[in-house]
Amino acid sequence: MSSIERFANPTRFLKLQAAVQPWVWAITIALFAIGLYLGLVRSPTDYQQGETVRIMYVHVPAAWSALMVYSVMALASIVAIVFRHPLADVAARAAAPIGACFCFLSLATGSLWGKPMWGTWWVWDARLTSMFVLFLLYLGYMAVWQAIDDPRRAARVAAIVAIVGFINVPIVKFSVDWWYSLHQPASVFRMGGPTIHKDLLMPLLVMGLAYTFLFLALHLKSMRTEIGARRIRQAELAQTGAIR
C-alpha cells in the first residue's frame, strides 16, 4: 500500500488532521504576525504610491492563493475522476469556497488600490477580467454541488467543471505578458529573478507563505466538516432504511 493510499482513507485522514491542525494554525498565526508587521510597519513606503503600496501585501498573496487553490481543486478533481477516491472529492469541494474568498479578496483589494493609483475602481483589462472569470468559475463549481442531489453524481460533474475551468488559470497568470495591460507585469515569479526590491519582497513572500498556511488550515478543517456531514447523511439514510 503506497503512502498516498494510506492517508487517503477518511478515518486515517481525520486522525492525521486532528494531530496536525493546531500546529498549522500556530504557524499560520505566527506567519501572519511576522508578515503583517514587516509589511505594514517595517517596510518602506513607495515614493510614488505612498502608503497605498501596503495594500500589495494583502492583494498579491490573495491572488496567488486564488490561483493555487483552483489548481489544488483541479488536481483533486483529476485524482477523483481517475482513481475514484472519495477523499479527493471532499478535498476539491472543500477548497472551492476558500478559493472563492481569496479570489474576491484580491479583486476587492485591487479595486481599493486602483482607485487612488489608476483613478478608477475597475478597468476591463486582461488580468482583471481573467481574474473575474476565475471568480465566476468558482461560483459555477459551487453551484454544481448545490444543484445536483446525488453526491456521487455531483462529484463527477463538478470535477469535470473544475478540470475544464482550469484552462483559465494559465490565462490569468500570463495575461499580463500576453496582452498590453494596465496591471503591472509579473515582478516576483519571472524568468531572470524578481524585479522588486528586497525590502518589499521579504514581507510579500512571508505573506504568501502565511496565506498558503491559512489555506491549509481552513482546507483541513473544512474537509473534516465535509466528511462529518457525509457521515451524518449516511447515518440518516441508514436510519430511514433508504440504504443498508
Partner: protein
C-alpha cells in the same frame, strides 16, 4: 465510426428540420435582443455604430446558449441516450455529432444572419464581412461549449440558469477575440488577423475538450 457520426448527424438534422421552431425561434430571439438595444441606449447613430460588433456578439452568445439548453434533453428523457451510450460508437463521437448538429442548426444560421441584422444597429458596411468570418468561426466554439454545458446539466430540472453560469465565463475569450478581430479595422493598430487566428485556436481547443468532457458528464448521469 464515421458512419455512426453521419447517421447521428442525419437523424438530428432531420429532427431539427421536421420539428421546426428551433432555428426560427433562435433568430427571433436574436432579433429581439438587437431591437431592445437601441430602445435601451437611445437611437444615437454614432453610439450604435460603435457598439454594434460587441452588441451583436453578445446577442449571438445568448442565442446560442439558450438554444443549447435542450440539446441532450430529449434523448436523455426518452432513453435514446442510453442506447447511444451502450452502442459500439464511443459517446465522444456522439457528443461531437450532436455539437455539430447544434452548430449547423443554430450557430451557423445565426452567424450568417447576425451581420445582416447589424444594419439595425448602423453597423459599418465594411465590417459586415469580417464580422461574418469571425462569427462563423467563433460560433463553432460556442456550439461545442454549449453542448458541454447542456451535457453537464442534462439531468437537472433547473438546468437553464446553471448552464449560463457555467458556460458564459468560458465564452469570454471567444467574445473578446471575436470583437477584436472585427473592431481592429476601426482602430489604428490593426491586430484583427492575429485575433482571428487566436479565435481559430480557441475553436480547436474546444473541439478537443468538449466531446470528451461532454461524454464524461453524460456518463455520470447514465450510471
Amino acid at each position: 465510426m464515421t458512419s455512426a457520426f453521419m447517421s447521428i448527424l442525419k437523424r438530428d438534422l432531420t429532427l431539427a428540420f421536421r420539428q421546426g421552431g428551433g432555428i426560427g425561434t433562435a433568430i427571433g430571439f436574436f432579433l429581439t435582443v438587437v431591437v431592445l438595444l437601441p430602445l435601451g441606449l437611445g437611437p444615437d447613430q454614432n453610439l450604435l455604430s460603435r457598439i454594434a460588433p460587441g452588441a451583436l456578439w453578445i446577442a449571438l452568445l445568448l442565442s446560442v446558449l439558450l438554444s443549447a439548453d435542450k440539446l441532450w434533453q430529449a434523448d436523455y428523457d426518452d432513453g435514446s441516450l442510453e442506447v447511444m451510450a451502450l452502442s459500439d460508437t464511443p459517446l465522444e463521437v456522439t457528443a461531437l455529432a450532436k455539437a455539430s448538429v447544434h452548430w449547423l442548426t443554430s450557430g451557423l444560421p445565426l452567424a450568417i444572419a447576425a451581420p445582416l441584422l447589424g444594419f439595425l444597429l448602423n453597423l459599418d458596411t465594411a465590417l459586415v464581412l469580417p464580422l461574418m468570418t469571425a462569427m462563423v468561426t467563433g460560433s463553432l466554439a460556442l456550439s461545442l461549449l454549449a453542448s458541454l454545458g447542456a451535457a453537464i446539466t442534462v439531468g437537472l430540472r433547473q438546468g437553464g440558469l446553471l448552464v449560463s453560469l457555467l458556460i458564459l465565463p468560458l465564452y469570454v475569450p471567444v467574445m473578446i477575440f471575436g470583437v477584436l478581430s472585427t473592431s481592429g479595422f476601426q482602430t489604428s493598430i490593426d491586430n484583427s488577423g492575429t485575433s482571428l487566428l487566436i479565435l481559430a485556436a480557441i475553436v480547436l481547443v474546444a473541439l478537443v475538450v468538449s466531446p470528451f468532457a461532454s461524454a464524461a458528464a453524460l456518463r455520470s448521469y447514465l450510471r
